[in-house]
Amino acid sequence: MRKGSVLVLVLVAMLLASSVSIFAAGSTEQVPTEQKSLSVLVYITGVMAGSPPYTALAEGAQEFAAANENVTVKIYEAGFNQAQWEEQLTSLVATGEYDVVLGSNPSLPEICERVGAKFPKQKFIITDAQKAGNSQMRTYLYNQYEQSLYLGYLAGLVTTSSMQHANSALKIGFIAAQEYPLLNKHMVPGFLAGARMVNPAIELDFRIVGNWFDANKAADLASSMKTAGVDVFAAIAGGAAQGLFKVAQEQGAYIVYHNTNEYKAAPGYVVGCGSMEQKKLVKEILVDVLAGTVQYGTASVVGAKEGYLGFFFDDPAYAANLPADIRTKFEAFMADVQAGKIAYTLPPL
């Protein structure tokens, strides 16, 4: 009891101290902040970790801010629960602190539309999404179908080749963390279509981890797929992709990777990486924002032709990992894609 009283006293003192500090904080808040001409909110619909596009989005904005003194950036990671995205975005927008909200997710336009209705002055610029006709919003859709197409083509070349770990089965694999519309409608069909341009008999083995972090499950899946005859893999699996890299190295299988340079993740086994120029796009967008030349209300599709999707040809691993004949065929195909010579119909999202 006596011991208890002492404890209570100590704690009450702590309580007082902390509440004083809170009020003190209230007063320090009044310190005048810099005159800001552009304040950007980068709204990450998920977490940056394990997501190259989100990381590039944030880094692009931060690098731009570093280069331009009058630009400030706040990065906010909203987490995976899409039901909470709107509420959090509303809270952020409600502060009125941000001139423009930058995001990258196909579902953001509808959320921003609703938030924007409450805050008519707020502007939104969203990549990886498509929505025209809203005067508060500007969207850029990466042509992920296209990237999957040429990565699929490369996978097709590899699986039909006589490379060391390529087998006779005409089977390629795709491991995804979870299913979502862009994946189901653009990436997976594009990947298969590209491979079938090499050989129409190629089959796709598509499997789901169930979450973005169970790398061991991804490894088990990859292992099982390998047994089933898969020799080239693609993965949209966040942190779980780590399991694929492991299996590829240990059991011998090739990987083509979307959106980022991952040759080093499994040296010798990652044979090709598609690039997505998110950072470049973000910087260009911000230049436009500063200049006041953003065409709100319009939507663009950006792909290889426009120079926002590409391939990491210049990494030495590319030349080291692939035989010359495959590279020649692939580079020719890539040139055709960039020239718009490859015919395909972009499925509706």
Binding site: S5, N81, Q82, A83, Q84, S91, E110, K118, E179, P181
Partner: protein
């Protein structure tokens, strides 16, 4: 007369002294937060201010905090009922999710029914949650399978199935969110604290607390349920249908989860999004345990929980605190919140039950 005044004074003093424990817990949590902020935040003062004052700084945050408490209240009530009967329901996640899903698709199917449709849709969602939980109750009754584990397993499987249904057959083709179509306007609860998300579902939650309280303490069935929970052998001996009370409270528990899920959709989200309820089931359980299975205490426990949660979120929104730091702070609170030793500090006498 004097005697009565004296009695009241003693009661007040006792109440005050008994609440010292709660103050101690809040104090330690605060202290932990201060320390953590100093360690992990670049702007600790700002962090603290948003953590503590954020949820109450304007109607928007305050309303959202109250709104967050609604499914917690329903879940907390459900778990309390199960625990009072000696059952443990670990399947809240799946029950809430499936309840929300069924309520949503029912609302979509019954779009023309108007307000009658609201009741039917919520009822269907409620029953879905209830039946899922009742399954575990039946397994326990028939073969003594641990309902704690089966409810957990059923829930895990159901979450995946519901997610499939949302992403597959029931997905709204017009949206890029993985979600069902939006429920009709006529099914949505009125917002009561614009611009926040708080809806009239709050009243339903408060009424539910009242109903559960009355049910437990004033009805024959509640009496039987409590006795079964306190001593199943005594209940059997007294002629109480023990088989029923292995199933019924589980049903109620799941039903409240399901209703909470439906309320979240009809009051806040308007469409059932994939995995929107992640964590709500567990939080409901935590609320029930903090409230020590007393329905009346579920409201303050849920508010406390929502306050901590939205304080953390506020600090994340407005200072440099990340989700992870917020969860560390929350964990410190949970380490201490049920401590009997801390709660007893200063208390006048030991209470029974």
């Amino acid at each position: 007369m004097v005697d009565r005044m004296e009695k009241r004074r003693v009661t007040i003093v006792a109440t005050l002294r008994n609440s010292i424990g709660a103050v101690v817990i809040v104090g330690i949590a605060l202290a932990a937060l201060v320390v953590l902020s100093l360690l992990l935040s670049e702007t600790p003062m700002k962090t603290l201010r948003y953590f503590f004052l954020g949820p109450v700084q304007n109607t928007y945050y305050f309303g959202n905090m109250l709104n967050m408490a609604i499914p917690l209240i329903f879940g907390g009530l459900g778990v309390s009922l199960a625990m009072r009967s000696g059952s443990f329901n670990l399947g809240g996640e799946g029950q809430l999710y499936s309840g929300a899903f069924v309520a949503t698709i029912s609302a979509l199917a019954l779009a023309r029914w108007g307000s009658a449709g609201v009741v039917v849709a919520l009822l269907l969602g409620t029953c879905t949650g209830g039946l899922l939980a009742a399954l575990s109750g039946v397994l326990r009754m028939k073969w003594n399978t641990s309902e704690l584990i089966t409810s957990f397993l059923v829930s895990n499987a159901v979450v995946l199935v519901v997610s499939y249904l949302i992403a597959g057959p029931f997905m709204d083709p017009a949206t890029n969110l993985i979600a069902t179509r939006m429920i009709p306007e006529s099914f949505r609860f009125t917002r009561i604290l614009e611009p926040s998300n708080l809806s009239s579902a709050l009243f339903a939650a408060v009424i539910a607390v009242l109903v559960v309280h009355l049910y437990l303490y004033k009805t024959k069935s509640g009496y039987e349920l409590r006795l079964f929970g306190l001593n199943p052998r005594f209940a059997a001996y007294g002629g109480i249908r023990t088989k029923w009370y292995q199933v019924w409270p589980m049903f109620l528990s799941g039903a409240f989860y399901g209703l909470g899920g439906g309320m979240a959709i009809f009051g806040t989200y308007y469409a059932c999004m994939k995995e929107f309820s992640t964590g709500m089931g567990w939080n409901g359980l935590a609320v029930a345990l903090i409230a020590r299975h007393r329905p009346g205490a579920v409201i303050p426990a849920a508010l406390f929980f929502a306050y901590i949660e939205s304080g953390a979120r506020n600090a994340m929104l407005h200072s440099d605190v990340t989700f992870e730091i917020a969860s560390i702070v929350q964990s410190v609170v949970f380490f201490l919140v049920t401590s009997a030793v801390l709660q007893k500090i200063g208390s006048v006498q030991r209470r029974s039950v």
